[in-house]
């Protein structure tokens, strides 16, 4: 039945995203290690870490409440829900009518909101600091994202993800239009900010005063930590998929034939690897910004988004 097939493809897409996410982050780490002149852990190291974490016990603080224990599930569920909405393999998917690009952004904000609350729950100083900084960065990247969505919606005529992808595939010239390129630049900076990558946040730091995302999860252990880490890695993959498939959509299957889906999987992998290389080189090149310089970076991305809108307006 074609209806069942569509739902199966959607499920397969989400499963693929879940399986690939640790590998993607492992690949980024491997590239960075190579760029640091060392052999580094193999790209499948995050899978081993997850397996280990699921087997460890959880230590919960006395001052924490039920919220602390519920948040990993909420964060994981909201990120997996986004995985159902982001176009990875094929368009249009059945869940296209459930959420558009705005829903994707706000579902991710849902995860961030609850994670920030979990940072405050155990009553530690680091958790509060992480929550405060994370919410600041999240709030300041909202206008950029909204304007980038606006720019994309202007040319596609809708905020619907499937429609944006289809529109760009139908009209290749839009992909190199200045509006799209500027929006890509703005969204790339937002990707860095939302996923806690350099120069906004160093994912490998041990200095609590330099942490943003890490500080909120210092209290988590065992399977809870595994869920939160996996959700964070899935978020990286989803952002990469958005960057890849919204701006360079060729390869995304429009028909649900095995050949088209295989091709879609291959192009998706290629885009993810390409973006991983770009991110690794970028992170090696830049240093982490002081926290109070991060708004300047986000302002730059905001200006890029404003320019994207202006150009889209003038081009109509």
């Amino acid at each position: 039945m074609p209806v069942l097939k569509v739902y199966l493809v959607a499920l397969a897409q989400t499963t693929l995203a879940l399986i690939l996410a640790p590998g993607l982050v492992g690949l980024i780490r491997w590239f960075k290690a190579r760029l640091q002149n060392r052999s580094g852990a193999p790209a499948w190291q995050p899978y081993l870490e997850l397996r280990k974490l699921f087997a460890k016990e959880v230590v919960v603080s006395r001052s924490a409440s039920w919220l602390f224990r519920a948040v990993p599930f909420v964060v994981f569920a909201s990120t997996v829900a986004v995985a159902f909405l982001v176009p990875m393999l094929a368009v249009p998917l059945p869940f296209d009518s459930v959420g558009d690009l705005l829903v994707v952004v706000y579902l991710l904000l849902l995860g961030t909101f609850f994670l920030a609350l979990a940072g405050l729950d155990p009553g530690s100083a680091f958790g509060g600091m992480g929550s405060s900084r994370e919410m600041t960065v999240a709030a300041l990247s909202e206008p950029t994202v909204a304007l980038a969505i606006f720019a994309l919606a202007l040319s596609a005529g809708s905020t619907n993800l499937g429609q944006i992808v289809a529109r760009t595939m139908a009209d290749p010239a839009t992909a190199v239009s200045p509006g799209y390129l500027l929006a890509f630049g703005a969204l790339f900076v937002v990707t860095l900010a939302e996923n806690g990558r350099l120069p906004v946040d160093n994912p490998a730091t041990h200095l609590e005063l330099t942490m943003i995302h890490e500080a909120m999860i210092l209290e988590y252990s065992g399977r809870y930590l595994a869920l939160i880490e996996w959700a964070a890695w899935l978020k990286v993959l989803l952002f990469f998929s958005l960057l890849g498939n919204l701006f360079v959509p060729w390869g995304v299957a429009t028909a649900l034939t095995p050949g088209a889906l295989c091709w879609a999987g291959t192009t998706l992998l290629a885009k993810l690897v390409a973006l991983a290389v770009v991110l690794a080189v970028f992170e090696t090149r830049v240093a982490k910004l002081r926290l109070f310089r991060v708004p300047e970076l986000l302002a730059v991305s905001f200006v890029l988004a404003v320019l994207a809108i202006t150009v889209s307006f003038l081009a109509r």
Partner: protein, 692 residues
């Protein structure tokens, strides 16, 4: 329609019985329950009436008259003729709103007023609550200028007296004064606006006013609109007329604050819609642009000031300003599209504004009731003295969390859905033909997105510092859960938040019908949107679709699936309770947690250009050595721009004039006799002059 007539009688009767019960019984559990029951019956009847009226099919702009008009005695027929109780669909929406928030608030009042037993008389709050609800229900039901103004003033007076319930605190009195002053200021503008619309024969019926409006020049219509915007904007809390809100809402008892914030300021929105759409029938684009700009500025300023507050209720009051801003963004966008002849987008804008009105009433009411519960339990509004309440008051915390998630526009709750509709309206605004005007839309989108992001940050702070962590004071350690009546009230509103979000597919078409036929919009089509679970929108340039109900179900399903998956893959289930990790520090005290001021500090520094923060650090050294510190006090202040630079000079000028005029009251009997004689002589002289 007899059923509707019965409901109307029930509504008015319920409120009056509640007021009577409060007056007669005066104290004790019976008084509290009967007062509340009266209010609940009244509000429930009002809610039903509103819903039934709203969903009833009627021709474009049609109204229903229930009660015949009253004629005031001894007053000329033309102005003494008060035409009451005529409902159009727009009014029905607001009537339902009053009932929707009124029922839980009345129930809440039962438990909340128990704290007043023995300290305060229950008569004034109980009576006034019922009268307040009654007057708020009358405002959307009024069908003539006089009826409207009467209901409006009754609402203002009862709410002022309710704000002054706890008048033994000095800041309450000042808050009440500000509130009264601003209300009367607004009333002046509303009266002038009505006067300008009155036809020559003086009949104040809205239909007559609308007809008169068509004969006015565009300049005069614009003047009326601006006057109405100022008058109703001051009630709604639009910047720069918002200064009374942050002091009046916290000063009132919490369930009254819920009504003030949830319902009363929405009647300001109703007034603007009434004038702009029903009476004046739409206008030039700059009306919408003005409303949109004011809305966007209010949204941003409201949330920026909310971030700096550590008084829980003041924080919520500033958020009301922010959400009113969002509502007016929707309304302004609708007005602009209307003037450019884009009816589908206009309806979208108005629907977004109205939907957010209802949603905000629900979650803001819930949040204020939650704040009231916290106040009831800890006897403080200062967030810096709370903490760890989630373990002492678990149910209150859960309901507050639902409200916080709703106001932060997190899917799939109602706050997100209405903001999504407003976003779509703004995105569609790119199809405005004039490009210089269309550029206003992305600016509004950016400001709306920033406001909503900052609101999420603010509510992480509000919920996190209040409920999570370790108790920061003795009261917080000893806090107890609130009585069942208060919990049920909060639960009702929390449920409403979830349901209103999931039922978006029904709400949006219903709200569309509320504005159909007004101001030149096309009348409602007979065919409603199909009963799909999704919310498809299709207007030129704004094509989008979300399905809140499947989203909710999907999230719940995923939440349930994860533990099952963990069990299937045999993940470890071991759990151990230990201390919070504090780098191995010997002791963990509440002082080591983040405070509310600390949480907002990065944003204070980033927006320092707006806040111009000043910091006071005073250090008490140990008497024996300056190397040891006994205590450090840190105080951070932000500049209240509007109060300092707009209101204080005006108030200072007025006060100086008043002081000079007061010189007349010298206290000397001779002087007063001289005034009398002089006045008499002048009047006689004038009479002589005119008579000849």
């Amino acid at each position: 329609m007899p059923l509707l007539g019965i409901l109307l009688d029930l509504m008015v009767g319920g409120y009056l019985c509640g007021a009577l019960a409060a007056l007669v019984l005066g104290r004790g559990v019976l008084a509290r329950w009967f007062t509340a029951l009266g209010a609940m019956v009244g509000a429930g009847a009002g809610l039903l009436l509103g819903i039934l009226d709203w969903t009833e099919p009627r021709p474009a702009g049609g109204i229903d008259i229930y009660w015949l008009s009253i004629t005031l005695p001894l007053v000329p027929e033309s102005i003494g003729h008060i035409s009451f109780i005529a409902v159009d669909t727009l009014g029905a929406v607001f009537l339902a709103l009053v009932g929707l928030v009124g029922v839980p608030v009345a129930l809440y009042g039962v438990g909340y007023s128990r704290a007043w037993e023995g300290r305060r008389s229950l008569r004034p709050p109980g009576t006034l609550l019922n009268l307040f609800l009654l007057s708020m229900s009358m405002v959307p039901l009024a069908a003539s200028a006089l009826a409207f103004v009467l209901a409006w003033e009754l609402m203002a007076i009862t709410s002022y007296l309710l704000v002054m319930t706890e008048a033994d605190e000095p800041e309450t009195v000042s808050a009440g004064n500000w509130y009264l002053g601003m209300t009367q200021f607004g009333l002046g503008f509303i009266l002038v606006a009505f006067f300008l619309l009155l036809p020559a024969d003086g009949s104040g019926d809205f239909t007559a006013l609308a007809k008169q409006a068509t004969t006015l020049s565009p300049g005069l219509k614009s003047l009326v609109f601006v006057l109405a915007l100022i008058g109703f904007g001051s009630k709604a809390g639009l910047v720069p007329l918002h200064v009374w809100l942050p002091s009046a809402h916290p000063a009132a008892p919490s369930h009254v604050s819920a009504l003030l914030s949830g319902v009363m300021i929405k009647l300001g929105v109703y007034g603007v819609l009434l004038f702009a759409l029903r009476l004046l029938g739409g206008g030039p684009a700059w009306w919408g642009g003005l409303v949109l700009t004011l809305g966007a500025v209010s949204a941003l300023l409201g949330v920026l000031y909310a971030l700096m507050e550590h008084d829980l209720k003041r924080l919520l009051a500033y958020h009301s300003i922010e959400n009113i801003g969002i509502i007016f963004i929707g309304v302004g966008a609708g007005l602009m599209f209307l003037s450019y002849g884009l009816p589908a987008l206009a309806v979208l804008g108005f629907v977004g504004g109205l939907y957010h009105t209802i949603n905000h009433a629900c979650f803001k009411g819930l949040l204020f009731l939650g704040a009231g519960s916290v106040l009831h339990a800890t006897h403080t509004r200062n967030m810096e003295e709370m903490g760890g309440l989630i373990k002492r008051m678990p149910r209150t915390a859960l309901f507050f969390l639902v409200g916080a998630a709703a106001i932060s526009a997190l899917p799939p709750l109602n706050g997100f859905v209405s903001e999504w509709v407003v976003f779509q309206a703004l995105v569609g605004g790119a199809s405005i033909p004039k490009r210089q005007v269309a550029v206003l839309m992305p600016i509004a989108v950016a400001m709306l997105a920033l406001a909503s992001g900052l609101a999420a940050a603010c509510f992480v702070k509000a919920f996190g510092i209040t409920f999570l962590g370790i108790a920061r004071s003795h009261e917080a350690e000893e806090a107890h859960e609130v009585p069942v009546s208060m919990q049920v009230a909060m639960a009702t509103l929390a449920l409403a938040c979830v349901v209103l979000g999931a039922a978006a597919y029904a709400m949006v078409p219903a709200l569309g019908r509320a504005v159909a036929g007004l101001g030149g919009l096309p009348p409602a089509s007979a065919a409603t949107v199909g009963w799909s679970l999704s919310l498809p929108l299709s207007a030129p340039g704004a094509v989008g679709q979300i399905s809140p109900l499947p989203m909710l179900l999907g999230l719940v399903l995923l939440l349930a699936a994860i533990p099952i998956a963990l069990w299937l893959f045999r993940a470890s289930r071991a759990l151990r309770v230990s201390d919070t990790w504090g780098c191995g520090r010997i002791a963990q005290t509440p002082r080591m947690q983040y405070t509310a001021t600390a949480f907002a500090e990065p944003l204070r520094r980033i927006f320092a250009a707006l806040y111009r923060p000043t910091e006071d650090v005073s250090i008490d050294f140990h008497p024996e050595s300056r190397y040891f510190v006994q205590s450090i006090a840190y105080r951070a202040r932000v500049v209240p721009w509007f109060e300092r630079f707009l209101y204080d000079p005006v108030i200072a000028r007025v006060t100086s004039w008043a002081t000079r005029v007061r010189a007349i009251q010298s206290g000397s009997l001779h002087a007063y006799l001289t005034y009398l004689v002089a006045a008499l002589v002048i009047l006689l002289g004038l009479l002589l002059m005119w008579g000849s």
